[in-house]
Amino acid sequence: MVDEYSNLTDEQLVEKAKNGDNKAYEMIVKRYEEKVYNLAYRLTNNRTVARDILQETFIKVYHSLKNFKKESKFSTWLYRIAMNFSLMHRRKKQYTVSLDNPIQTDDEEELKHELPDWSDNPEATIENKELRKKIYNTLELLPEKYRSVLILRDMEGLSNKEVSKILNISVPAVKARIHRSRMFVRDKLSEYFKQNYG
């Protein structure tokens, strides 16, 4: 029964759901369940918390549909709600991150030294479990405002504009944060390769 809705756009489904068509809402959930779960998991690094965020998000969205304005894409609005729940959970769990401290990356002076190029190392692959763990651990070291941008931009594949709308910050702010985040992770991965394969 839900299949007849699969060709509808998000906006068409939202309109139907607003008018009380619950099958349309079920289609929305079906379409975005995995995306919201992955976002929540990546932001919290905890499957149980991700499960809670998944439920909270879709229940909140169901009750707030009437407030959804067509000024933004439905997915942007949905991501913003999921992001807010994820941040609330992280704060509850008292993750030791600061929202304001700038992250430290190698400064330009470092460029004067020869940098080892590990990009062709056969171990530099996401299949490498140890490296994957290192990446996740490094993400945890990033202050919230940098980590959110990195996850949305480079893991979820959203554009700078979409990220700016979800986080309610300017595009230049997104660009500045993504750059520092990427550089921070790159520095950590360089240390990892130097220690393990240098």
């Binding site: 879709f58 080892p116 992770v185």
Partner: protein, 87 residues
């Protein structure tokens, strides 16, 4: 001409194709002669690729069932309340 410091600052814009053509050409020319910046850009790009490659995880069956149960309860309860209000 673009220098190492500027490349460091513009790496993301360069990789995300957000620079104008002339600037891109300058950076590419610089990379032909600066091993250090080439190494930086290769590892920087590789870092982004690693993020892109992180696989999507499936929603566990139990989580999926709990979600749908919660949603159906929510939808059902809302219907009951609406009906009661209408009576």
């Amino acid at each position: 001409m673009v220098n190492c410091k500027e490349i460091y600052r513009l790496l993301s814009d360069f990789i995300d194709d957000e620079l104008d053509y002339e600037f891109e050409r300058e950076i590419e020319q610089h990379l032909n002669t600066c091993k250090c910046c080439l190494s930086l850009i290769n590892t920087f790009r590789k870092t982004i690729n690693l993020f892109n490659e992180i696989e999507t995880i499936e929603v566990p069956e139990k989580t999926h069932k709990q979600l749908w149960k919660a949603i159906r309860i929510e939808i059902y309860e809302k219907k009951i309340i609406t009906k009661r209000r209408l009576k």
